[in-house]
Amino acid sequence: MKTPRWMTALLVGVALALAACTGEMSAGYAPDEADADGGPDGRVGEPEPGEPEPAPGEPEPGEPEPGEPEPDPGEPEPDPDDPLAGLPPFAPAAPTLHRLTEAQYHNAIAALFGPGIEIPPLEPDTPLHGFASVGAAELTVSALAAEQYEAAAQAVIDQVFGDRERRMALVGCEPADPGCRAGFVADFGRRVWRRPLTAGEVMAIDGVAADLGVRLNDVWRGLGFAVSALLQSPDFLFRVERGEDAPGGRRYTDFEMASRLSFLIWNSIPDDALLDAAAEGRLTDDAGLAVEVDRLLADPRAWDGIGGFFAEYLGLPALDRLDKDPEAFPQMSATLGPAMRAEIEAAIRRLVFEEDADLRRLLTTRTTEIDGELAALYQLAPVEGPTRVELPPESPRGGLFGMAGVLALNAHRTVSSPTHRGKYVQNKVMCFDIPPPPPGVATSLDGVGEDQGPLTTRQKLEQHRADPTCAACHRHMDPIGLGLEHFDAIGAYRTTEDGLPIDARSALDGDAFEGPRQLGVLLAERPEFAACVARQIFRHGTGHLEARAEERAVRLLGDRFAREGHRVQALVRALALDDAFRRAGPPDDTLPDGMGDGMGDDMGEMPGEGG
């Protein structure tokens, strides 16, 4: 039987963890917390025993898809001293159209027309591979979305052009004068479409204004509808990227780079200064690009982009609608989840922007920002409004994994889930994907050991894990989560579960730990975190899942992040200046099959189908 791909991944993951133990990649790390046990520097990484049998009659999940290139059997074995050995040479991804995400649309409207414009709801994003930006590079404008964009544009022009002061502030001259009108279309169009309009494009849009100005007998209304046309055009709704030929291969143009930068760092459209830099050719130049990256990072809007990245990466939007059983948790309220999110985001903001610090401190920090509701949950002295506090030495909390938001996100509605918490750590700190349980496997803990009287979640899980089929994956998850069992499904501290004492002593790959403080120290020492953050921001920033030909670039980005002190601003700068961000492949002319063949024409089987 072939080894399923996910199983291979487990083995590779373990091998990488072992290879990483040489430790020369990470800069010296001084945790916030000095009193944690480090544990011996040994790792347990033996291969998995056995593998789950697929259900009868079903091909294995890891079967290669038709059309997917088989790994070259002649590929040399990776040299353990060179983590990049065996990877294909770098090749840039194809340029594509990136539809504005919901947040980007709102940010763009605010940037163009000022704050306070209200627009009707837009279709929510469809995130793929964790990020709305990745979904936005795949999806298109549905019938519903086109209606919503029309209604939104109408709402904008109603509010802007229906208000004398506001419209004059925007336009700056009388549109009864054709020169004023066309000049406005050209100038404002450059901001909306994020590139200069051609003379023909100005004529077309100005034509709408001129024609409707006459027919509606209202030049301002006519101009408003021209703005509506700008806002409904694909040039606004999509970030259009095609690339251009240049010495050394295709690259993104100056204006394409302006948008790539501003959406990466601000999650919004470029400002005039950035467009000017593009017009002067400074964004295809190393030094000029670096200047603009630093300017954007220094702007308060950088939090919109970088904070937005971390929120998606860590799954924080789910805290806005945190759903816990109100009977089991009387502390639960509509504001508690958002308060948890605010605590995590405040820590990231402080480390990334206020202190430009080593991001690994997020895993161990004892400084945090909480409001009254969270102070009560943490059994700390009352505070009013968001307040920065130092956790007292006896507090069991500390670092990201002691924050209630992460603990509550990765728990059920009524009970904790060591498995989900462990999976989150593997997924978010190590970028280690663990597949969902295979079908037909009983995942229930109900009734486990019920003949032995009441059991804690830990005891039930340990019995469950005695099954080697489950253990293959659960051994990567449960031990991490079991070390966090002092925190219930809402992230509150507890010493007992159903009257039984909690035992939260555990180990991470052989390193003993208990609780989030010690776990944070262990994780901060591991090189996977830097590699994972870099991989995630690469996906988010480029808007696609890295291809094999980009793996080299992703790994090097992670190495550089670690080498430069795990500073996120430096990581963003490195990404923005990377060839993988600036170089464009040839346009994608491959068509996924299967569209539009409902009238009886069989298009046949397609490559890339699930295997």
């Binding site: 793929l128 046309a229 509605r413 969902p436 068509l591 539009g596």
Partner: protein
């Protein structure tokens, strides 16, 4: 000025109260009656009353021991999970098919959804992660219906309408788990979750008139011009995405140019936010059901889908006593999974509300449900095992006299695509075949038909 765009030229003669939000409400006067001939079975200008195609979907499957009816043919008796439909008096408008099997199953979590709705395997998005992210490789069955209807009746305001009830929006495993109606890979027709926004979409009122129409047409014309121009400069993949954008804008233009629709306007429904942490599932379902009945009775569209809950939905079916998400208890609850079972019973009660709303909407000499063919299904058989055999399928409606209803059709591991093709033909659509590769069928389940 308000932002809502008016439905052009719609005449609002009567406002009926009490429909939206009421489970068993009735539209007092059949909307199409004005256009009927003297016999009430055909339109005055010729041609029969329209038949509609529908899809009603719920996530996480069923419990077989409570689902599969006793007895076959006309003499079947429901077990607990189908009892709500029979108790609602829907037996004569409903056939149960058991024993179907997805023939394109290759992955437990993704195959069932695309298997039942496209008769084909899924399309994987990105190949360098071990977590599979997928989308539909082909258009979903409702869009096949929409293609045919668009040929038969090109002037309808909406090609299809999509509603969703439960607010859980899916896992991060691709559009397969986030959307129902697909035109193709990563090309979705998103469902409207809010009854209020669905109302605004269909009946939204605001200052309108010929001036605004003129301006909108001019703007949309400029927009479609830009889409076509941009298409010339991008790769084939992006050009195809822009094709969809173009069609989406053209649909607005077509509605602007269409003859005025004549339809009464119901009350604007609420938004039904959670009450004390509890999702107002029944209220949203009743409101969406009523709006869809209105849209069909008004002939706004002849193709619809209702995603009660998405594939693998994490909805908390609290009215059935659940305290954790349905997906979670499907995995975790010990067999025989009493809470999962209770949730399925509850979901079938909600389906009964939808079907009753159609049945209680008179049309001509019958009712709306008489003239629908609705495929009611889910993405797998049993949630705890993710099985793709014994696939749960109901065919509701009489298909304008084509479907006889009231049957339990038992098959022996027959191709599940038979369900889709039977529903399409049941709606009177001349679809030759459905599905791809091992999922393809050219026949229907004959016993369903008159």
């Amino acid at each position: 000025m308000a932002f809502l765009i008016p439905r052009r030229g719609m005449r609002r003669r009567t406002v009926l109260r009490g429909l939206v939000g009421g489970a068993a409400a009735t539209i007092g006067l059949p909307v199409l009656d004005a256009m009927l001939d003297g016999n009430g079975a055909a339109l005055a200008q010729g041609g029969p009353l329209p038949t509609r195609f529908g899809l009603w979907f719920w996530g996480n499957g069923i419990r077989r021991e409570h689902w599969t009816p006793d007895g076959v043919g006309a003499g079947w008796q429901p077990r607990a999970e189908l009892a709500p439909l029979v108790e609602a008096g829907l037996r004569d408008w409903l056939s149960v098919v058991t024993g179907l099997e997805i023939k394109t199953a290759s992955h437990p979590h993704h195959s069932g959804m695309t298997g039942i709705l496209t008769g084909a395997r899924y399309h994987q998005v990105g190949e360098t992660r071990d977590t599979i992210v997928s989308t539909f490789a082909h258009q979903s069955v409702d869009q096949i219906a929409a293609d045919h209807v668009a040929q038969q009746a090109p002037g309808l305001p909406y090609r299809s309408l999509e509603a969703a009830v439960c607010r859980f929006r899916g896992t991060d495993e691709g559009t397969t788990f986030q959307h129902l109606s697909h035109n193709g890979p990563n090309d979705v027709n998103p469902s409207e979750y809010s009854p209020r926004r669905m109302y605004d979409r269909l009946f939204g009122q605001g200052p309108g008139g010929p001036q605004l129409d003129l301006a909108r047409r001019s703007v949309l014309d400029a927009v479609t011009g830009r889409i076509r121009a941009l298409q010339q400069t991008v790769g084939a993949r992006d050009a195809r995405r822009l094709d969809r954008h173009f069609e989406s804008v053209r649909a607005i233009e077509r509605r602007l140019s269409a003859a005025p629709a004549e339809c009464r306007v119901p009350d604007r429904p609420g938004d039904y936010p959670d009450v004390e942490g509890r999702e107002q599932i029944a209220e949203k379902n009743a409101a969406h059901s009523a709006l869809m009945a209105y849209a069909l009775a008004c002939d706004f569209t002849r193709v619809f889908s209702v995603m009660f809950s998405c594939a693998g939905s994490g909805v908390v079916v609290w009215p059935a006593g659940a305290r954790n998400s349905l997906h979670q208890i499907c995995h975790d609850e010990a067999v025989p999974q009493p809470t999962v079972h209770a949730a399925v019973v509850y979901i079938m009660q909600q389906l009964a509300v939808f079907l009753r709303t159609l049945r209680e909407t008179p049309e001509g000499d019958g009712n709306l449900l008489d003239r629908c063919a609705i495929l009611c299904t889910t993405e797998l058989s049993e949630g705890n095992t993710h099985t793709n055999d014994e696939f749960p399928v109901l065919i509701a409606g009489r298909g304008g006299g084509r479907l006889r209803g009231g049957r339990h059709v038992r098959v022996d591991r027959a191709n599940a695509s038979l369900a889709g093709l039977s529903a399409l033909r049941g709606a009177g659509l001349p679809v030759e075949h459905f599905g791809h590769g091992p999922g393809e069928v050219r026949d229907v389940l004959g016993e369903l038909f008159v």
